[in-house]
């Protein structure tokens, strides 16, 4: 019995190596946060790449795609270490990733030292990655944190009639980008957000009592850019302390972890508008097909693909589409490949995507509102789709740069 097993294994191995002669393989590196607090999200990002690869049956232009993963813990140092191994040791000529903002900037900087290798973003959404000190071989087919807010500022100004908002956000680059993307159009229309009504809390903050006590009364609403447990903690504490100001949500604030949580804040968040690159319940057939595909391929995954799976999927699909167009030929150090990438325009589950001159995606953004679903659960209803949002939010490049890098105080908006 043992021998026959061995024999079978050996002949299988022989077969596999024989088939390797016919289909040459091409190494693609995938960087995601597989350790630490974002591990579940990184795992979902890799599911996105797998979905894109499945559409090509694992083979592009006759080359078998060999996916090699690199793991990070969301710190830029670990991202550079992971990508270095994929490029310098494993010899990957295409790298897809990373997941979080600061990692994206670090890999963009590293990409400048490897001009022969092509880097595509995963789901990282920091603004500077493709705005300042851009790299010729770093491409981002997913939209970023400020773009994700498209339409929200205008919506709450005209439809909801808010004129002054307070801000509660985590204290790092991604929420800064979101706050900027929300406030810029809001303030351009005449809204204000005083500096002393903006509160930045550390990531993972548990106690919001000091923030809640300091929230001014004379604002019309609170813009909340917190994620996961931070959002749940703030919302429940605010509701319990008797707060009744309406809310406006960031892209990861009104997600399933918040909508699905129990407690009295549940009724209170109904009607909260938010915006982001995906909308779970969008009834468009392209999105519905994507969700069905995800659910069938990954029964153990999330109930619906997260925006991380979505981001990785779009970037991976772009990588494979362009690879098909150059017939898998990267022998010129990928120069022709990158030319194709820069001009690529394709249909995604969330609409058409193409790049601007700094390799940043121009894509559609969803405006949503929390409603009560038919079975009593909360869900995000799609209010409108803002088509083809640019990174400069409709402004000229120079005009947009004049705002300066995103920070706690940007835009001033007094």
């Amino acid at each position: 019995m043992k021998y026959s097993n061995l024999l079978m294994g050996a002949s299988l191995a022989a077969l596999m190596s024989a088939s390797g002669v016919y289909a040459e393989s091409l190494k693609v590196g995938a960087v995601a946060t597989l350790e630490g607090a974002f591990a579940a999200l990184g795992e979902d990002g890799l599911r996105g790449i797998q979905l894109a690869l499945n559409e090509f049956d694992g083979e592009v232009a006759g080359y078998t795609i060999e996916l090699i993963s690199g793991s990070t813990d969301a710190s830029p140092d670990s991202a550079v270490r992971a990508v270095r191994k994929l490029v310098e040791q494993d010899g990957a000529q295409i790298v897809i990733g990373p997941l979080s903002g600061s990692e994206g900037i670090a890999i963009r900087d590293y990409s400048k030292t490897q001009p022969e290798v092509t880097f595509l973003n995963g789901a990282s959404a920091a603004q500077d990655t493709t705005l300042r000190e851009t790299s010729d071989n770093f491409f981002r087919f997913s939209t970023e944190g400020a773009q994700w807010m498209a339409g929200l500022g205008e919506y709450v100004y005209t439809e909801k009639g808010y004129r002054t908002v307070a801000v509660v956000a985590e204290d790092y680059s991604f929420p800064y980008t979101q706050v900027f993307g929300f406030l810029e159009p809001f303030c351009r229309m005449g809204g204000t957000s005083p500096q002393d009504a903006r509160f930045y809390v550390p990531l993972g903050n548990k106690d919001y009592s000091s923030v809640i006590a300091a929230l001014p009364d004379e604002v019309d609403a609170i813009y909340v850019a917190l994620g996961g447990a931070d959002a749940v903690n703030f919302l429940s504490q605010y509701e319990q302390s008797g707060g009744d100001l309406p809310l406006i949500g960031g892209s990861i604030t009104m997600d399933q972890s918040v909508l699905g949580s129990k407690g009295s804040q549940r009724d209170y968040i109904i009607g909260t508008p938010a915006a982001g690159p995906i909308s779970d319940t969008w009834d468009d057939p392209r999105w519905q097909a994507f969700v069905t595909d995800y659910q069938e391929t990954f029964p153990d995954g999330f109930p619906s693909p997260s925006l991380f799976a979505h981001g990785y999927y779009i970037n991976a699909k772009a990588a494979f589409l362009a690879l098909e167009e150059v017939s898998g030929d990267l022998s010129d150090g990928g120069a022709a490949y990158r030319e194709v990438l820069a001009k690529l325009s394709f249909e995604t589950p969330t609409g058409m995507v193409h790049l601007d001159e700094r390799h940043q995606a121009v894509g559609d953004i969803f405006l949503t509102e929390v409603v009560e679903g038919p079975n009593g659960g909360l869900l995000n209803k799609t209010i409108s789709v803002t088509p083809q949002v640019t990174q400069t939010l409709g402004l000229g490049y120079e005009e947009f740069l004049a705002y300066g890098p995103v920070s706690r105080e940007n835009p001033v908006c007094e």
Partner: protein, 336 residues
């Protein structure tokens, strides 16, 4: 002093010289990845581990703040050197910045020592952990000096005689010089009056005090010495990465350093370097050995096995192996 140095050098066993030559030749067969990310990076982590080994091995004092000393040195380089964040970045020359960074790291380590030396065992671990955590959170929330969550990026590497020190070969040799220098210094200090006094405070502090030594002074000086080692590693780290952020000095990384020192072995200064090499190899290649969802289990299991079979770490394992081989060889020799 000089006689002592000569004695130390002539006392070095031939095996060490062979190892040194191999290390010097290592970059030639290896690619850039192995040269920098395995070779040089192991030596940097090894240096921070050595800093802990000096305290724990000779002094019996486990400090979790040694990585913090290295991180502060890296921050000093970013603040007084050139960075691309438009925050501070005075653009001073490397000849001033590097010594300044080492001085700040040393001072910090000595201060940690001053606070912590009156405690021992688990209390010292807790105090130094508390210091490491507070510095981490302070760096993450302070924007005026530490530039908060983002930290500093775009830190330029020094050019010595026109050679970019971040290029793989020069950086490898820079790290090698640092590692060998501090390894030699530690070996020298071990046998020096100070080193013997330090080991005596580990074994019986009351007797040392009765002999007229100041136990506190000896321990604080050990912390300062460990600070020099850690801060040098911090400067190397910032040259390699070109960036420093609160994640660099996070608690999880500080625990990694402890793991490196313990797994390598605390009885000999070369232990932390062995531990660092094992750690870096596992960190980079465990993901290729097994499913990507489980690779951290492999890393943990490997370290558990080492500690289980050899409380003295990899060094102890080596000792056991060579002890086993020797008795077999000796009788075969006597037969002939």
């Amino acid at each position: 002093m000089i006689a002592g140095v000569v004695k130390t050098i002539s006392g070095v066993r031939p095996a060490w010289w062979v190892a040194l030559v191999l290390l010097i030749l290592f970059p030639f067969p290896a690619n850039d990845f192995f040269t920098v990310q395995i070779g040089a990076y192991s030596m940097i982590l090894g240096l921070i581990g050595l800093s802990l080994m000096i305290l724990a091995g000779y002094g019996g004092m486990v400090s979790l703040a040694q990585l913090t000393a290295a991180g502060l040195a890296a921050y000093v380089v970013a603040i007084f050197g050139v960075n691309s964040n438009d925050v501070l970045g005075f653009g001073w020359s490397w000849w001033i910045v590097a010594p300044l960074a080492i001085a700040v790291g040393t001072l910090f380590s000595a201060l940690v020592g001053l606070i912590a030396v009156r405690t021992s065992g688990i209390y010292m671990i807790m105090i130094t952990l508390a210091i490491a955590v507070s510095v981490f959170f302070f760096a993450r929330q302070n924007y005026e000096v530490f530039n908060g969550f983002t930290g500093y990026a775009g830190i330029t590497a020094p050019h010595i005689a026109g050679v970019d020190m971040r290029a793989p070969l020069p950086f490898y040799y820079l790290s090698l010089i640092g590692a060998v220098f501090f390894l030699a210094v530690t070996a020298f200090v071990e046998g020096s009056p100070f080193g013997l006094a330090l080991q005596a405070t580990r074994d019986n502090p009351r007797r040392v005090a009765a002999l007229g030594y100041s136990v506190t002074a000896i321990r604080v000086f050990a912390f300062a010495l460990a600070g020099v080692v850690a801060a040098t590693a911090g400067v190397l780290l910032v040259i390699l990465n070109g960036r420093v952020s609160p994640g660099t000095i996070g608690v999880d990384v500080a625990i990694d350093i402890l793991v490196i020192a313990v797994v390598g072995g605390l009885r000999h200064p070369v232990g932390p370097f062995l531990g660092a090499l094992a750690f870096v190899l596992l960190e980079n290649f465990a993901i290729d050995l097994i499913d990507r969802e489980r690779f951290n289990t492999v890393i943990g299991a490997a370290f558990l096995l080492v500690i289980f079979f050899s409380p003295d770490g990899l060094l102890g394992l080596w000792q056991k192996l060579s002890d086993r081989i020797k008795p077999i060889q000796t009788p075969t020799k006597s037969e002939h």
